[in-house]
Amino acid sequence: PPPEWDWRKKGAVTKVKDQGMCGSCWAFSVTGNVEGQWFLKQGTLLSLSEQELLDCDKVDKGCMGGLPSNAYSAIKTLGGLETEDDYSYRGHLQTCSFNAEKARVYINDSVELSQNEQKLAAWLAEKGPISVAINAFGMQFYRHGISHPLRPLCSPWLIDHAVLLVGYGNRSATPFWAIKNSWGTDWGEEGYYYLYRGSGACGVNIMASSAVVN
């Protein structure tokens, strides 16, 4: 992979969103990935609806949590995603009001990505932002800088938060992943979290996936 990459600089990432008091990180992680895939294949950056997933993905559990793999499947089954403007985020479960005629984005498939961070970086640089899930240890109090908790405290087996890898690089020789979070811009570095790259910190490499847009 190139030594550094940042999809934000290439216009593939929408502004940081806020999931509010709702465990809907899985929906934000997936829409972020689909936004990136659609941009790379179609050349248009659209902000997509998480509320549609909350309301209409019946396999996942809305604010109680969900899985990206199920969400991709729901997007395929429903027939696409509406935009944020057409199906706005409310942060709580509502009756599904998806309108197929308003769907602006479609996916063809979804794939699981390698657990090798080098390969993930290579994939990201070529193919776009990646949906991942991590152990959120310490994130309640994270302000800025590259987070690298001791491994026993941030076990890869206790994954509890889904986010979006949008880039990677090095800061003063410390390798990092640039991670788009969904807790608003008044958290972290303007809504972004920086995590140590190369040691599987907090399980960042365990559950990487992406939608496929043909």
Binding site: S69, Y72, D109, L113, Q140, G145, I146, L150
Partner: protein, 229 residues
């Protein structure tokens, strides 16, 4: 309460106390533990021991208390066998001029091997940090930081009691953030965030996604790595 032990050498400002001196902070900790519970469902204090560090106008009590939960009286919700549950709790109570604040609360059943969560892990990693004396104006500074937090993040609390409880959660969280900071090997800085007045449990319940580790999800095909495309 068990007989007071001989004071141990634990630094110039820490000393083990006889039980009567621990009663006020222990009762306060118990009151906090039972907060929101109806009469008849509250835990009782069976034994307490601990030590104190004094600094300036404040005293920090580190307590080990045994609590007894009352037997379950509602047959529709009781788990069998119906018995009293004994808990071993660690409390840290700050007392400044007679005003108490609960900084830490870890409880677990006495008969389980692992009694608690990450706070215990921190304690085992950081025995020295726990013995550091508190700054003289600890609670004054904390109140000032909390006030700034409330303004910055537009927090409103329904009652004074709620505000006091949130401040004690906030203070506890600042200690937690400091410990996380000490255990981070990167360049990250931890401290006050918009989530600083939430307990760890509240934060997990509201913002995190336990399904990610609990459910296998739909199987997806493995992507080809870019080098082999």
């Amino acid at each position: 309460a068990p007989a007071p032990k001989k004071p141990r050498a634990a630094g110039p400002q820490a000393r083990e106390l006889a039980s009567p001196e621990l009663l006020a902070p222990a009762r306060f900790a118990l009151e906090m533990y039972n907060r929101g519970r109806a009469a008849g469902t509250r835990a009782a204090l069976r034994a307490v021991r601990g030590r104190v560090r004094r600094a300036g106008r404040g005293s920090l009590y580190s307590l080990k208390a045994t609590l007894v939960e009352p037997p379950c009286n509602d047959p529709t919700v009781c788990q069998l066998p119906i018995s009293k549950k004994t808990l071993l709790c660690s409390f840290e109570v700050l007392d400044e001029l007679g005003k108490h604040m609960l900084l830490r609360r870890d409880c677990g059943p006495v008969d389980t091997k692992v009694t608690d969560d990450t706070n215990e892990t921190f304690s085992s990693f950081l025995p020295l940090l726990n013995k550091d004396p508190l700054p003289q104006d600890f609670s004054v500074k904390m109140a000032s930081i909390f006030k700034e937090f409330v303004t910055t993040y537009n927090r409103t609390y329904d009652t004074k009691e709620e505000a006091r409880w949130r401040m004690s959660v906030f203070a506890n969280n600042m200690v937690r953030a400091q410990k996380i900071q000490a255990l981070d090997t990167g360049t990250a800085r931890y401290g006050v965030t918009k989530f600083s007045d939430l307990t760890e449990e509240e934060f997990r319940t509201i913002y995190l996604n336990p399904l990610l580790q609990e459910e296998p999800g739909r199987k997806m095909r493995l992507a080809k790595s870019v080098s082999s495309l």
